[in-house]
């Protein structure tokens, strides 16, 4: 009897994950709007979020790994990826130490700077010699249009 209950429980869990996967995939694929965009700033062409807030990379990060937590992340809030977001070309998603998901460009995790309040603000560029604006390189500029789907 116990075995039957356990087996049905297991198959229910398995079925629900299959159902969820089937449901998630099309919804992610149909969402064509990007979480980022290229924008002109006083420091040249940069990447921003959809509202125009500047994005930065951190020289102390390594490819696919954020080393900015705690007080660092208070000053430089991570550019979070929504649940179900799908990677695209140079734009990938990295897992943070707290389990949350963060967008990365060419492997480098992306951040906001808390001092930037409005679109076009680029106060974080060059701070400490370790923070740089995220800029469209020629290769990554083409990324949004070269979808593999």
């Amino acid at each position: 009897m116990n075995t039957v209950i356990k087996l049905s429980a297991i198959s229910l869990i398995a079925l629900s994950s299959i159902a969820r996967a089937a449901y998630d995939t099309p919804s992610a694929a149909t969402s064509m709007s990007h979480a980022w965009k290229a924008a002109d700033s006083s420091k040249g062409k940069i990447f921003t979020d959809p509202s125009g807030k500047s994005l930065y990379t951190f020289k102390k990060d390594t490819s696919g790994v954020s080393n900015c937590d705690g007080a660092c992340a208070t000053a430089w809030p991570p550019f979070a990826a929504k649940a179900g977001a799908s990677t695209k070309g140079a734009w990938t998603i990295v897992s943070r130490k707290d389990g949350s998901q963060q967008w990365a460009l060419n492997g480098m995790p992306l951040y906001y700077f808390a001092a930037d309040k409005a679109a076009g603000d680029v106060r974080g560029d060059g701070i400490g010699g370790i923070w740089d604006l995220a800029r469209p390189a020629k290769a990554s500029m083409q990324t949004p249009s070269t979808s593999t789907y």
Partner: protein
């Protein structure tokens, strides 16, 4: 003539004496966010809610983003303005026991871009 010179010298002396006596490491500045305390170059000063009276809890990454408002070697506490010792032995100005900091996002007098960051940073106000 000699008397006039003496008077002028006296006035000059008292003026220079006053300016020495009144020189403080901080000033009061009007900003878009209201009246605040400012340190060198008129840069706004902040307090950190995770600090406790007379103790800074902001080091490493935190102090990179929020550089402490350090006191000169001969600085002396006055009124609500006291000195707090940091882990590295340096002395940091504190207002009513709360250590004071700059914020790397501010670059000019009147900038207050650190106010409210993370819900734990506040402008130091008179």
């Amino acid at each position: 003539m000699k008397k006039v010179n003496q008077i002028i010298a006296g006035v000059l002396l008292s003026v220079s004496f006053c300016s020495v006596a009144l020189a403080t490491a901080w000033s009061v500045a009007d900003t878009g966010a209201g009246r605040v305390f400012a340190g060198e170059k008129g840069l706004s000063l902040y307090t950190f809610r995770k600090d406790t009276p007379n103790l800074s809890n902001c080091y490493d990454d935190c102090a990179t983003a929020w550089p402490p408002f350090l006191a000169k070697a001969d600085a002396k506490a006055t009124g609500a303005w006291t000195l707090v010792k940091r882990n590295d032995g340096s002395m940091q100005w504190a207002l009513k026991g709360m250590p004071l900091y700059y914020w790397v996002g501010d670059s000019a007098q009147g900038d207050t871009t650190g106010n409210g960051v993370g819900g734990v940073w506040d402008l130091a106000r008179p």
